[in-house]
Symmetry: C2
Subunit: 268 residues, 2 copies
């Protein structure tokens, strides 16, 4: 699993994930509030990019955040401490063999994780079993098929496609966002409600242009450059042209769009 | 111009446009209210699909609705009368040579029209000149590059691509939505604000599945079948497979997504 994580574990990637979490926090999390005293499992917390946002928005809920990577958990734990959060515990575990009994949590939260799994529906089924009656499972994923930009450029499409193919080779699916409703239904979830979260960046929204177009999406694509070239998916020149074309969409007459999907469901 | 209108002028197409207008009305128009007494030019009203929604939402504003097609205007006029609207006048005119003096209107509204024009920026520049000081221009367009669906299917992409190519051959651009901000800026507009309007249809939203996936988008693609085949863009079998794949996204485990873009701008 560790080696297959398409985004890598480098410092720059951590920085990117935390930039992304800040820019996107309101868009993705504004309607997620966990009441006082309830228990929440965050499945696949990574370095805590979403954890910090979640726990700060629900300061009276108790979070158990698990990840397969001890190094990521160490960083997440340090960042939670720096943020002064006292309602978060971290625990190393594999999502496929979680050490919790059925009905252990009031709520489950899983964000930017299913996209990396070979069997997301099976994982969702396992997570749903951990819910107490009436509890909710919240899942958030992006979908690289949602990318739209101006000026259009085939090199940019090529570079994005490299990322999609690398993620597929690693057993994941970068186009998973649109499938959350059928995935959750197949996993046995009830009352599945999906709401798209649209990111739109043009010159009238400089915060989104810098925080999302440049520092989130384009940075993510840049982050797989060496791997894409090593895998024979692109020449260096073609990949670099794609990254340049993505940066072009952040100029004064450029536009960039991306859609995340957020699902909330119940176990029964 | 008339013959090049990609959606055609058949009765079934009128029905589709009115189904679409009802389903989408809230999503597209809920934030458009013209105050009492002000004058609004609707540029390219067609058979009045948007006119009825607009005029009903701003009953004390006065609308002048122009179109190049006398037949479309006759139908629009009849429908406005049937709807009991008394605040709408219809007038035949070419958008490229509108018979109005500069500063004639408080507001201008143009919806699903720029996509059909060879020089949308030039038309926008002309329309902006018709505004009184402080008036607004509102433009709404779709973007076929925003289409996402599940299950994914290359035949569906092929059929959609036929529509995009036919529209391009007719001098239009089915991917225009994302470009509204730069288009309006290039036309000299000020304070351009674009807001995407995302259509999301899964089994939990049967009204959208039927009203949009089936009766709006898939019906629109089906509507160019014969033209696409006659133009050599598709075999009948390939096109029909694409339409079938689009209908497949309206089944219980299917998902369909589309994005419209709405821009509001001022002349100075």
């Amino acid at each position: 699993m560790t080696h297959a994580y398409v985004h890598g574990y480098a410092d720059r990637e951590h920085e990117r994930l935390h930039d992304q979490a800040r820019t996107l926090s309101d868009l993705l999390h504004h309607d997620t509030h966990y009441p006082e005293g309830c228990t929440v499992l965050e499945a696949g917390c990574g370095t805590g990019a979403q954890t910090l946002e979640l726990a700060a928005r629900s300061p009276s809920a108790r979070f158990t955040c698990v990840d397969i990577s001890a190094a990521s958990l160490a960083m997440a734990s340090r960042r939670a401490a720096e943020a002064g959060l006292h309602n978060v515990e971290f625990q190393q575990a594999d999502l496929r063999t979680l050490p919790f009994a059925a009905g252990s949590f009031d709520h489950v939260f899983v964000c930017f994780v299913l996209e990396h799994l070979a069997d997301p529906s099976g994982t969702l089924r396992s997570l749903l079993r951990l819910l107490k009656p009436g509890g909710t499972l919240t899942a958030i994923e992006g979908d690289h098929g949602s990318v739209m930009f101006h000026p259009e450029h085939p090199a940019a499409r090529h570079a994005i496609d490299c990322q999609v193919r690398l993620q597929a080779r690693a057993g994941g699916n970068a186009l998973i966002g649109r499938t959350l409703h059928p995935l959750l239904q197949a996993a046995g979830a009830q009352r599945v409600q999906v709401s798209p979260r649209f990111v739109y960046a043009d010159a009238s929204r400089p915060g989104w242009v810098d925080g999302f177009t440049r520092k989130t999406f384009t940075a993510m694509i840049e982050g797989v450059r060496d791997e894409a070239i090593a895998a024979g998916l692109s020449s260096p020149a073609d990949f670099d042209a794609g990254v340049q074309a993505l940066h072009r969409t952040a100029e004064a007459d450029g536009v960039f769009c991306y859609t995340f999907f957020k699902a909330v469901a119940q176990a029964s």
